[in-house]
């Protein structure tokens, strides 16, 4: 029964799941087992790159969950992604210990540089891995809870919600740029040494992080699939298509939206936390409104309201970006811009829409 719901009812999703599982097995083998001179060898650069794409896929999945199924367009999901990333970054920074430039065992380098006396209270506990991991989901979740509670209770919807989420992420960016915030200001947190005792530079750690990211995407997909196929998910679709009608039918619309929003923010936080050790830096640039809008584009390109489409979209757009920015750097923004226009005008259902027959259920 559950198998039917999660896997078999959606062939596209099943295909993507199988591909992800294959990737999860093939990439470590190609990097660690296959000898470097073989044409089948995958360099560590590619492992890190694919790992990064996986975290983007997770972010796209979290956006698709609220946009595709509840009609909530968040232009500020980078806020949750960034906060999760900062929680992880803080843990990794604490792990540096006295190996920083200033060799101060108590304070990170930038705090020594800014002549902090002691560790600010909000850094307490981040030397413990479990605490940091808890914060990765709690901080974005709490912010989403407060923000969503305020917004959905007053029935801020559609365009207005999109714009205030943009204000949120913009305000966060400005705040994190301030040195006084105690998060490293402009430079952010970087120079990480190790995670759980493993060096972040090591090949094996990279592969490990890749596998964990792939696993996270798979689990998140299954959880999201579970939600949207449940009764809860049915109500969400009703809210998306006719919010007032759902409300008049007796559903507490704002509760449904709020819990989905919080769950989505937590997923985005996890994506951020996995992203940081793989790229080795977190800075306020992650909060730039542009990044958040780009993430919405991944979903739009892949096809909103299908979950697996978001994963495809994240891989497609970021793959294209990587290729363009190395091959034709000037053309990239033209291509990205054209992609935005073409997809919204000609492919309102994204890449997924090319392969799927229109069914009534999928009407946005």
């Amino acid at each position: 029964m559950l198998t039917q719901r999660l896997f078999l009812s959606d062939w596209g999703g099943l295909t993507v799941l199988v591909l992800l599982l294959a990737l999860m097995v093939a990439v470590p083998i190609a990097n660690l087992v296959v000898p470097p001179d073989s044409p089948w060898h995958l360099s560590t650069y590619w492992v890190a790159l694919l790992g990064k794409f996986l975290t983007f896929a997770l972010l796209a999945l979290s956006i698709d969950l609220i946009w595709g199924y509840a009609g909530i367009l968040s232009l500020g999901h980078g806020a949750f992604f960034g906060l999760g990333g900062y929680a992880m970054g803080m843990h990794l920074t604490r792990q540096i210990g006295d190996r920083g430039v200033y060799g101060n065992p108590e304070l990170p380098d930038f705090m020594v540089f800014l002549s902090y006396e002691s560790l600010p209270w909000y850094w307490w506990g981040f030397d413990m891995f479990w605490f940091a991991m808890l914060m990765v989901v709690l901080v974005p979740g709490l912010l989403a809870l407060v923000f969503g509670w305020l917004a959905f209770r007053s029935r801020v919807t559609g365009v207005y919600f999109a714009i205030i989420t943009q204000a949120l992420v913009f305000a966060l960016m400005l705040a994190f740029f301030r040195n006084e915030m105690g998060f490293g200001g402009n430079n952010g947190l970087t120079d990480f040494k190790e995670i759980l005792g493993f060096s972040v530079q090591a090949r094996e750690t990279r592969v490990g992080l890749f596998v964990i990211s792939a696993l996270a995407v798979i689990l998140a997909y299954l959880a999201a699939r579970f939600i949207v196929t449940s009764r809860f998910g049915r109500v969400l679709v009703a809210v998306r298509d006719a919010e007032n009608r759902a409300r008049f039918a007796g559903y507490r619309v704002e509760h449904y939206k709020l819990w989905l929003f919080v769950f989505s923010a937590m997923l985005a936080g996890i994506a951020g936390a996995l992203y940081v050790p793989q790229v080795g830096i977190i800075n306020p640039g992650e909060f730039s409104p542009l990044r958040s809008i780009e993430a919405v584009l991944w979903v739009a390109v892949g096809g909103r309201g299908s979950l697996f489409g978001a994963i495809i979209g994240a891989f497609a757009v970021n793959g294209a970006k990587t290729w363009f920015t190395t091959a034709y750097p000037e053309v990239w923004l033209f291509a990205l811009g054209a992609l935005f226009v073409l997809v919204t005008v000609f492919l309102p259902r994204g890449l997924v829409g090319l392969f799927r027959r229109r069914t009534r259920e999928d009407q946005p």
């Binding site: 367009l73 232009l75 923000f147 305020l150 917004a151 209770r153 007053s154 029935r155 801020v156 919807t157 559609g158 365009v159 207005y160 999109a162 714009i163 205030i164 943009q166 204000a167 949120l168 913009f170 305000a171 400005l174 705040a175 740029f177 301030r178 919010e243 007032n244 409104p289 542009l290 809008i293 919405v296 584009l297 739009a300 000037e330 923004l333 033209f334 990205l336 811009g337 054209a338 992609l339 935005f340 226009v341 997809v343 919204t344 005008v345 309102p348």
Partner: protein
Amino acid sequence: MTALPLARPGGLGLLALLLLLAFTPPAQADAQAAQTHSAGSAEGIVSPLTDLIDDTADAATAHAGNRAIDASAPALVEGNEHTAAVPTAEEPGVSVAEVSIDERIRQLPHGSFNDRRAVAEELAMAGDPRVAGILTALADGRLLALDEPRARILIRDASGRLGRDAITGEPVSAELIAAGRRIPVHNPLRNTLRSLVAVATISDPAPERRATSLRRLLRDGVSPEMLDYLDARVEQETVPLVLDLLQTVRAMAHLESDYADQRLQAIEVLRGSLLAEVRVRLDAAAERDEDAAVRDSAAEAIDSIETRIAVYRFTENLFFGLSAGSVLLLAAIGLAITFGVMGVINMAHGELIMIGAYTTWFLQTLMPEALSASILLAIPAAFVVAGLVGIAMERGVIQFLYGRPLETLLATFGISLILQQAVRTLFSPLNRPVASPDWLSGSLYINPVLSLTWSRLYIVIFAILVFVALLLVMKKTSLGLKVRAVAQNRPMARALGVRTSWVDALTFGLGAGIAGVAGVALSQLTNVGPNMGQAYVIDSFMVVVFGGVGNLWGTLVGAMGLGMMTKFLEPHTGAVLAKILVLIFIILFIQRRPRGLFPKKGRAAEA
């Protein structure tokens, strides 16, 4: 005489006093000497009265002696055309120049540093236009003395080898300059010279230069001899602003007086001043003056000054807020049409502003010699260019997306990326320099605490003009009527014969054109570059959403409100935190009033 109280570091030496008094009629010498001593006493040196009498007597003798020497001086002057220009009668502080200015200039190389100082002081108060240049050159070590073939004083140019004659002003050859020997100065003399240059500039024909020199004197303080000279200037000064400064400088000097009533009078004058130096001096008087009445009066004056400063600071904040609000209004008003009236979330709005700014830059490069004309011409040009781009956007993309606002957001965002990259590829990724005409630079000086930048004043006026023009278009023209009809009820408007697609295109063009016009104004305030649009788009959306979608008045109130809020927060929190607080305010405000300050009224449950 050796214990003369005036021999203080950096101040006036004994010889200086003697020589100065030598050129002062005896009747004034008394008063002057009295003030000299009061200046001394302010530094804690109180001189016995006998000294004073001795000084005056000596000075009188010296005076007589000098007069005898001076009588022969005119004969030595060869072919001097400047002698007649020396002001004499209207300068009671300075004795009638029996010795010509030229002769004094010739004396500069001779004698000790103190001699030189004395001559310089006399020159500074002579009111001769050449003196400021000569004393500056002396202080900079560019004043040269030449003995062969005849005694001359030369000024070497700041640039190096060339120069001119200090007295006649005629250029001299490089060889002569090379042959000249530098007239030596030491640091105390150099400091005095700087003040003396200021004194010499007090009689400059240009009021701004007079004001600058007075500000310098206000900082350096004034010696009693200079004070007399200033007294004389009071009657000649006609520019009110400079006269105010002059009175302030005099009152500051009088505040050093020995007599309490003179100090009280000085405080009465200083009460009206907002200058920082006055404030510091009054603080000192309120704390340390020996006379209780003076202390009270000074404290009271400080209170009144502080009240006035607070009022002006408030006015300044108000003006900053108004101008920041005007910038927001200009940036947002085009969006109020495209987003507010048509419901298109135009993320390319910032890039339309950028196109307007680039149009300004382009016209300037076409006609670099006619700066003002190019700016004025840029206003219609930017309207047309940005408007055409807007119409192309509407016809090419947006018309397929009506009724799907979130998708217009993505599509227009794509367009914004394309436009940015197009500008980068066509021109350059770097910022373009846009010049401002003279009437836009500088500021309107009201008082030391408050001065208003012209460019910001014009922005306020311009924003209001644009707003009024747009309001008229929307309320009084047939296009405006059709736009409102289509916005209110599209099918009904179409049924009544309005070509809705045509109206859509023109409306979007109008909003885009207005954004272009905003770009012309903003090009005068900020950098013009490919990224400039991004700085405005988020702010513009905040304004429109805050004010209420579909309401031009809401946009006006929203822009001014947010501008004021930012500028009144900034002094307390700093710019970045103020911006964050305003964003948080908007987020919270939208919770209270999800449709903005002035929501559209209607019966539809869903907008």
